[in-house]
């Protein structure tokens, strides 16, 4: 499939079929090499291959998300809404002067969700709910869910009932995103959501505010996408771990601040060389994945993640809002046409072509296909996805994630996979 150059200043057009693939890297931006303000490294300590100076900001934002949100409220007097799935229309919340933050788990074994969620549902939704039950998001003024899979829905509805919260909203995001009727339907649903926000906040959301919000979100996506673009280089100037920290942070902090950090990152990035060799170029794809420890483990075995298809990665920011008739209709169209989650990718399986295009553009040698245990939507796609990748000559390693991953057992599989991919001089 053809991978065309994208008009500057916008992300690749919506949808799939490889149209979403960035062009070949453009020449390094000359001049300024200003760096992002280097913040104090969090307790985690720095890992080899992780550049605290360039990426410490993002890690700090992720690690200290609660402190950040509390400080933001102090500073702006605004409200913070936690959302559960990346189908949440952040534009509306920005327009309302609300800070949307994504609710993610903590990767600790926990024993508080058994009474609320049946064990056959994914560990991720249970981990998310555990955060609420443990009061780790006590700074939220509201929660909202854009309808996606059944699993995360339970984290939302249990949170609604058992965690005191001022405002909660369930947005019936259409599933049939391939239907021409999905955008008009969502446009109307966004109006209802907008009204509900207005009632809650006691003030109107003017179209002007929506336009600004669209700009804020688009700019951030565009910058993220430009950083990702550099990973096409034979020697990417950032590791998969760093990229993950960067995207995760963008789901937790004010996008304007995040965009500023990205600007300075981009300025320095062209000069930057990762200290360790790139090794095997890997792609990681599958369900929700914010397991930094896992990514670090894989990259410590002589590999670098150069691209992903995750809702904590490209699926989150790949598509821009393209302005058409009204702001709400434009936003609706963006969420309908974005790179889909498997739960909405039917009757056509558009994700497969998209993943193949990414693999090609980023010159991927192998792919780690991961999945949250019990994640049905992905389990329903993985055989087709794996088949297509293998047919395209890309070997795959499948791993099933739990809240905590048994690093020991996974390391053997990962190393064996890398040995298999490397033209190792053992014979």
């Amino acid at each position: 499939m053809e991978t065309h150059r994208v008009p500057s200043g916008t992300c690749p057009p919506a949808g799939c079929g490889g149209c979403g693939v960035p062009p070949a890297p453009r020449a390094a931006a000359a001049g300024s090499s200003s760096h992002s303000p280097a913040l104090r490294e969090p307790a985690l300590g720095s890992q080899p291959g992780f550049d605290a100076e360039l990426f410490g900001t993002f890690r700090n934002w992720r690690v200290n998300r609660a402190e950040y949100a509390k400080a933001w409220k102090q500073r702006t007097g605004g409200k913070v809404v936690g959302y559960f799935c990346t189908y949440a229309p952040e534009e509306l919340m920005y327009a309302a002067g609300v800070l949307p933050v994504r609710i993610l788990g903590s990767h600790e074994v926990q024993d508080v969700t058994e009474p609320h969620i049946f064990g056959m549902f994914c560990p991720f939704c249970r981990d998310c709910l555990a955060q609420g039950l443990k009061g780790r998001f006590d700074y939220l003024d509201g929660i909202m869910l854009a309808q996606s899979c059944l699993h995360i829905r339970q984290a939302f509805s249990s949170w609604q009932k058992h965690v005191p919260i001022d405002y909660s909203y369930y947005l019936p995001m259409p599933h049939h995103v391939q239907s021409r009727h999905a955008t008009p339907f969502l446009t109307k649903e966004l109006e209802v959501f907008k009204t509900s926000l207005e009632v809650w906040l006691g003030r109107a959301i003017p179209d002007r505010a929506l336009d600004e919000a669209i700009e804020i979100c688009n700019r951030n996506r565009q910058l993220l996408w430009r950083v990702y673009e550099t990973r096409q280089n034979p020697h990417p100037p950032l590791t998969g771990e760093e990229a993950l920290e960067m995207v995760l942070a963008s789901q937790m902090v004010d996008k304007q601040e995040h965009s500023a950090a990205l600007e300075s990152l981009l300025a320095g990035l062209s000069q930057r060389r990762v200290t360790r060799p790139t090794g095997v170029r890997l792609m990681i794809l599958g369900s929700e994945d914010d397991d930094v420890e896992f990514v670090r483990m894989v990259e410590s075995c002589g590999a670098t993640f150069v691209i992903d298809d995750h809702c904590t990665g490209t699926r989150y920011f790949w598509n821009n809002v393209e302005r058409n008739t009204s702001p709400l209709a434009s936003i609706a169209e963006r969420y309908v046409k974005r790179v889909p989650c498997p739960s909405k990718d039917w009757p056509e399986r558009t994700r497969v072509q998209h993943a193949l295009a990414l693999a090609k553009a980023y010159n991927v040698q192998g792919a780690i296909v991961m999945q949250q245990k019990f994640c049905d939507p992905h389990e329903l796609d993985i055989p087709a996805l794996t088949k297509a990748l293998n047919a395209a000559g890309i070997k795959t390693l499948f791993l099933e994630f739990d809240v905590t991953v048994p690093i020991g057992q996974f390391k053997v599989r990962v190393e064996a996979f890398l040995e298999m991919l490397r033209e190792d001089d053992l014979f």
Binding site: E108, V109, Q110, D111, V112, T113, E114, P115, G119, D402, T404, V405, P406, I407, G408, Q409
Partner: protein, 255 residues
Amino acid sequence: MIAAGIDIGAKTVKVVLMSDGQVLARRLVPAGLDTAGATEQAFQEALRAAKLERSQVERLLATGAGRKTCALTDREITEVGAAAKGVNHLLQSCRTVIDVGAEEGRTVRCDERGKVVDFAFNEKCAAGAGTFAEGMARALQVPLEELGPLALTSRQAVQMNAQCAVFAESEVVTLIHAKTPREDIARAVLDSIASRIISMVRKVGFEKDVALIGGMARNPGFVAALKRGLETDVFVPEEPEYVGALGAALAAAEP
């Protein structure tokens, strides 16, 4: 009136003989592969210890997983009911009984009369039962009875990542290779069993006082982990494995 409670479990058979609320004798015999034989043996030994004739025992009641196979009586009470009655006799203020045996964990909520209000079993998974501790003790190369005391000497909490009992064993091996101190691994093992048990306890919702019975109650490391996790004190009777049989004997004596 003399009453007998017979608890036929997966690993052992327990018999308690009582007279008007007083325990006359108790016996425990490994079930082995001949449960009927073990039951008969335990019963006779108990009779001998209490200097009683079989004919003097007016009421018999069986409980435990094997209660339906009991040749001595066809009157029965479930493990759940027996546990509640037994603990109520020992600690009237008890509202939540946690029973962790070799292959199963149970939580029973009861009222001040020892009547069952609600109960939960841990779903079939060895990772929340005594057998798990056995396997891990072996991987750690310490006798089972030393696992608990060893865990108590641990100074740092390590997280067990593997969820399946048998895979946890290879994780223990991984931890060993990673030079993790044995006592910390021992604690990690018991913490992970406790965490599964606590999940189940929370499902029923627990009310104080909380009592722990069954084989795992003998494991101080496990008891400590349970207290830590539930953030409450946990009452452990002196003979935790006899509580079921005791409850059965009490039930048998009831008019």
